[in-house]
């Protein structure tokens, strides 16, 4: 019989080994799944993990890596604060959409004025604000009425999607678009475009923001009282209360941070890679970022690595769909497995396995 025994100290080694082991197990089990689908497993794994970086079309896919990882990292960093404190914001996708809509609306309001120095920063602020407002709703309801923020934030994703569709079809629709749904292209409007900063690198302002967020989050968690309060509240809520942490205030701040960063990610996406508000320009970054946050063990550097890895499976997955005809669902399954195995292996950080006699 196997029994789990709690370690007196969390194992330092396992903190680092667990994610690597999870990736390896995912590759093995994923390979088996691909084989069962009748696809060559090794080739599929190679297509997902190797080809996007070093394959024949890597010069196209490498910039994509940063374009996809940027928003994932930015959102995941925001979520990690709340997750550490035991505040479960599952609705980053909705905050992402609302940030994008607020930013797009701000940019389009000035169209066709040429004033990048004014309009672009205003759009960033609008993106932050849009996400924050959307995250403030579940925060307020939790503090005031003790609602469950998981449900409220998740349901607000669907509300945001409905607003997004309505915007694409009505208020923000391109007047010169011959009646097609969708807004003007913000990436082609010089005052609002989120441009690539280094040619063919994929580095745009959102990627810079993500890197800044990583450094900033690292600093806050290691050196600032707020980071300490967040960790304390997550580990022992009663001890946090005794230490003087105001639980309600913490919920509010954590929700606002995650909302703001998700909103900013939406802003950078809608003004750059996506280009415009359409009825479904969101691609699930807000949900995938939850996986990224946990895969990175809620640690800023871990999230940076996990975001890149997740982006790789996205791009590699697309490649595998094209070249091997793997079904899209198999790729999603693959990504889900990654989180599943991480959480499973993660147990080893705080527990050790004992082999005992069965009765």
């Amino acid at each position: 019989m196997l029994t789990l025994e709690k370690r007196a100290q969390p194992s330092k080694a396992w903190v680092y080994v667990a994610p690597i082991l999870a990736v390896i197990i995912t590759m093995i089990v994923g390979g088996v799944v691909f084989a069962m689908l009748g696809k060559p497993p090794l080739e599929a794994i190679r297509t997902i993990f190797y080809d996007p970086l070093f394959g024949d079309f890597a010069s196209y896919s490498r910039p994509q890596l940063l374009i996809k990882a940027g928003p994932l990292i930015l959102i995941a960093i925001g979520l990690s604060f709340g997750f550490r404190a035991g505040i479960w914001n599952i609705g980053a996708e909705g905050q992402y959409i609302m940030g994008a809509l607020a930013a797009a609306a701000t940019g389009l309001a000035f169209y066709p004025m040429e004033a990048r120095w004014l309009i672009f920063p205003l759009m960033v602020l609008a993106g932050l604000a849009g996400g924050m407002v959307w995250a403030a709703i579940p925060a307020f309801l939790r503090i005031r009425f003790k609602t469950n923020e998981i449900l409220v934030s998740l349901m607000l994703v669907y509300v945001a999607e409905a607003i997004q569709a309505s915007m694409a079809l009505n208020l923000l629709r391109n007047p010169d678009g011959h009646g097609f749904p969708g807004s003007r292209n913000l990436s082609q409007y010089p005052s609002s475009a989120n441009l690539e900063l280094i040619a063919n690198s994929g580095v745009h302002w959102g990627v810079m923001a993500a890197l800044t967020a990583v450094i900033f989050a690292y600093f806050i968690l290691a050196r600032h009282r707020f980071g300490f309060d967040v960790r304390l509240a997550g580990q022992s809520p009663r001890a946090a209360g005794f230490a003087g942490v105001d639980a309600g205030r913490l919920v509010f701040i954590c929700m606002l941070i995650s909302g703001a960063l998700a909103g900013a990610a939406g802003m950078f996406e809608v003004s750059g890679p996506a280009g415009r508000v359409s009825i479904d320009f969101n691609v699930g970054y807000g949900f995938t970022a939850i996986i990224v946050a946990f895969l990175g063990r809620l640690h800023p550097v871990g999230i940076l690595i996990a975001g890149l890895l997740m982006a790789l499976t996205y791009i590699g997955g697309e490649l595998a769909q094209l070249s091997l005809g793997l079904p899209g669902a198999a790729i999603q399954l693959f990504q889900g497995m990654l989180l599943f195995f991480l959480l499973a292996v993660d147990v080893m950080t705080s527990y050790r396995i004992r082999f005992g006699k069965t009765e």
Partner: protein
Amino acid sequence: MTDTLLELRGLTKAYPGVVANSDVSFTIGKGEVHALLGENGAGKSTLVKIIYGLVRPDTGSMTLNGAPYEPSEPRAARAAGVAMVFQHFSLFDALNVAENIALGMENPPAMGDLAARIREVSEQYGLPLDPDRVVGDLSAGERQRVEIIRCLLQDPKLLIMDEPTSVLTPQEVEILFKTLNILREEGTSILYISHKLEEIRTLCEHATILRLGKVVGNCDPRQTSARDMAEMMVGTLLHVPEKAPHELGDVVLSIRGLSAPAPHQFGTALKNITVDVRAGEVLGIGGVAGNGQDELVAALSGEMKTAAGMVVIDGREIGRLGPNERRAAGLCAAPEERNGHAAAPDMSLTENALMTGAVRKNLVNRGLLDWPSARTFAEEIIKAFDVRTPGPANTARSLSGGNLQKFVIGREIMQNPRVLVINQPTWGVDASAAASIRQAILDLAVSGAAIVCISQDLDELREISDRFAALNEGKLSAPRLAKGLTIDEIGLMLGGAHDMEVAHVDA
């Protein structure tokens, strides 16, 4: 008495980095009340866990009634006739007594039959307990009776009791001892673990003393003085806390008409508590657990806010301030529950030092944490209070209960507060550490602090208090001078009504 019930031979159990038990051998006779004595970390818990089947020894063997005894799990131990009453109860507040007992049984009988059995056993052993009452409404003493009766229903040959009297009033202790004596007369053996040496002297006929995992002595507690036993446990001479003579100063802490609703379903409302504490004074507050102690500490520490004027320090109304603002005003507190309340178990000692020391020790500058100073503060606490740990980077969880207690109390005392509020300062701490904690409290009082010490250990309160008051159902009695107060008077102040009567024993 001559027959041997349980014999331990050469039991050794090592954990990584520490030998918990080393070659432990002793025997428990039939119908014997056998005391197991030792400091924290002496290996009592591990030994008891081996006997109860929770831990397997590395080497050594046990025989029960002459037959080899190797319990692989508590169920096997129970089947062999070994039962245990833990220090911490495992009861569900929302269920009634009979339901709680049924949950711990292999094959619970029908509820009606079980309730009848419970009544029968509680009559037989003089333990008053109503099977239909909800556990959340019971006092600590009554909860313990639930655990004891759960054990007695199995008709045990050996009953292990871990610190059973730490939560009881003197009257409840008396009831418990009567029960244990009935059991002894029926031939049941009892392995009794306690820090209270006077109790052991009245109850036990044999004692085994452990130090650092080894048996260092045996004695007949009836023939040995408490001091001698304590010195055997510690291995050195004991120091009795003393208070340097000093004058009381002005009133520092005023509690004025403090009332607060119960914070949760099984909490206690505070009712119109009024008392002043002067500089240099120790106010001892006694009472059975669950009579508002946690709530009073929360109301004073700032975790529970009240009307501004209900709590006053140096003339300043602080009832509406949060914990850190109160620390700034000079009030430090140490709640009873160490793990998860007074300390964060998964955080390092440095982080735990920062947790409450940030304000008074200036460990945060403009929001930035000063880790080197926090580490120094943690090291100072470890050194001054003899906390046994490899260093401040270790987690609070890795410390034994007594060591963590020393750390928590030390952390508050070393902040030099104007007012110190502590709940159960020496709970689960061994004799020598308890003496040094009490001495530190008295030294702090001498230096001019006002101290509110809440405890269920009446000997402790009599030792350190200047005045004594009792907390009963959220009401505080008028304080009386502690000097000259007898245990019986204290018992009556505690509200007495808590089952003073022993249930009638049928002839």
